[in-house]
């Protein structure tokens, strides 16, 4: 059973934006594909990559990312499907021992993650995120350190949700544990500490909420409240889908914990990542781009301001410029100044002029030397 039931065939870079040592690397492994079926895995991989590329904000960060495919053949096709969960009883010999019915739940499809890590550590130790695609059309998947999903329709959403957890540290934004209609107890009101995850909070105070810079002044705080904490909030979104605020019901609790937008891929599959999650993804992957945004600032109408920045990161920094965000903005700026400090850091300064009649938001852009 396991690694004796197949072999590691090889690793192929299928999205190539540079050396693995310089980019953020996603690795996708095959499970339950016989050697003759690996061509199908190549197609399945390409389909997932296409889905990912169409998912904001990965589209804009694409140049910072590589994708590698590790072809692993198995003796047999598919995954174990125990009859105990109503499955077919199939018991194929596969490299990573994929099986449905873990913990007695049919859709809980898991692999031997220890074997997965052994393969990845040997084939591509630069991996930042690992996924396993299981050659079965039955719906299933699982998360944790390795995202696993089958070929059933919509199952690749599991990969995107789990990548939110594993690569970016997101919490679940759903407001239940077992389900809204499960009759669950113990999930009425969150009374714990502030979650360290960036996309849920116990704090709906406008002045101190951790994503307060994304909340418009006109948006009420909290943005929604659940009138009956014994169950999930049944109300539909009273605001536009893009409104960022503090919506009650998150982090497995009907009340007392808040999420940034009414919905998000971390709340229910098939939705876009919310604005807070997208920002964290950008912050994580942008440094792997050839150039990236290192800060966002505003400047008042008609004003001239100088900004200072001390840089001590590796290996060195090159200013790329100032990029207006506000539509129609008219900005100009001087060539940045630079001074090496005795402690090895570098001090940069730049003067920006807003020639517009409105306050302008802009990015500073930089790249590594």
């Amino acid at each position: 059973m396991g690694a004796g039931d197949g072999q590691v065939v090889g690793t192929t870079q299928i999205v190539d934006h540079g050396a693995a040592s310089q980019k953020w690397n996603l690795v996708i492994l095959s499970e339950g594909y016989k050697a003759a079926e690996l061509t199908k895995f190549h197609t399945d991989c390409a389909n997932f990559v296409a889905t990912m590329f169409a998912t904001p904000p990965f589209d804009e960060l694409w140049c910072g990312m590589n994708v590698f495919r590790i072809d692993v053949s198995s003796t047999d096709s598919g995954a174990k499907d125990p009859t105990a969960c109503g499955g077919t009883g199939a018991n194929p010999k596969t490299y990573f021992d994929a099986s449905f019915c873990n913990n007695g739940i049919q859709r809980l499809l898991e692999v031997n993650t220890s074997t997965v890590h052994t393969v990845v550590n040997a084939q591509l130790p630069q991996a930042h995120m690992i996924m396993v695609v299981v050659n079965s059309t039955e719906y299933g998947g699982s998360g944790g350190d390795v995202a696993t999903f089958s070929l059933a329709s919509g199952a690749n959403e599991i990969g995107l949700h789990e990548m939110g957890h594993t690569a970016f540290g997101f919490a679940d934004e759903y407001e239940y544990y077992a389900g809204c209609g499960s009759g669950e107890t113990g999930h009425d009101k969150y009374t714990g500490g502030e979650p360290t995850q960036p996309n849920v909070t116990a704090n709906a105070n406008r002045a101190t909420n951790k994503w307060r810079d994304l909340i418009a002044a006109a948006t009420p705080m909290p943005t929604t409240t659940n009138k009956d904490c014994t169950k999930c909030d049944p109300q539909s979104n009273p605001f536009s889908a893009s409104t960022v605020g503090a919506y009650e019901g998150a982090f497995y609790n009907h009340c007392g914990a808040y999420r940034p937008q009414f919905t998000c891929r971390m709340r229910a599959l098939g939705n876009p990542y919310c604005a807070v999650c997208q920002r964290v993804i950008r912050q994580t992957i942008s440094p792997f781009m050839a150039s990236w945004t290192w800060g966002t600032n505003t400047i008042g109408a008609g004003q001239t301001q100088r900004w200072w920045l001390s840089w001590s990161g590796y290996p060195g920094l090159e200013w790329v410029g100032v990029q207006p965000v506000t539509p129609g903005a008219e900005l100009d700026w001087d060539t940045p100044g630079m001074q090496k400090n005795a402690d090895g850091s570098t001090l940069y300064w730049i003067t920006v002029r807003n020639k517009s009649s409105v306050t302008v938001t802009f990015h500073f852009r930089g790249s590594a030397l």
Binding site: Y139, T196, L269, G295, L317, F364
Partner: protein, 151 residues
């Protein structure tokens, strides 16, 4: 009056330790340490997390000062996420696991002056979620443990 630009996202570190852990319950073992030429995302804020809940790891220097911190989703699976494409079910829900057991990987910068990795978590039970995270495992990594280290 000059203004200070918002702090930049630091350029990632260019060499990492790939640490592979195995766990059974709350017992965590470091089973493999690889030194790898790769970039890591910049550190998250190092301070102000004392009363927070969740899971994170830090890399500390010889003076015990944290130099790198990343929060990650709970890698010790005392419960599991279950998915559904049946509209009658929620697309995602959780179920408790009786005997958590598995493997996970943590990536930290490979900087010779900092070789202590600490794991922080809220109590490793479903009910413990929400309680303040505390250090529950610490590993000091020696050069002899590291495969592939650049001398």
């Amino acid at each position: 009056m000059p203004q200070v630009a918002q702090p930049p996202e630091a350029r990632p570190y260019n060499r990492a330790l790939r640490l592979t852990f195995e766990y059974e319950g709350s017992n965590v073992k470091l089973v493999s340490t690889q030194s790898v030429e790769m970039l890591l995302p910049p550190t998250q804020s190092l301070e102000g997390h004392e009363d927070q809940t969740g899971f994170w790891f830090t890399l500390s220097n010889a003076q015990g000062k944290a130099v790198y911190r990343r929060a990650i989703h709970q890698p010790i699976a005392y419960d599991r996420e279950v998915f559904s494409n049946d509209p009658k079910n929620p697309s995602v829900q959780r179920v408790p696991v009786d005997k958590p057991k598995g493997t996970f990987v943590v990536l930290v910068p490979d900087v010779q002056e900092a070789r202590t990795v600490q794991l922080f978590s809220h109590p490793l039970t479903v009910a413990g979620r929400g309680q303040a995270a505390r250090e529950f495992a610490r590993f000091t990594i020696t050069s002899e443990q590291i495969k592939g280290e650049k001398k």
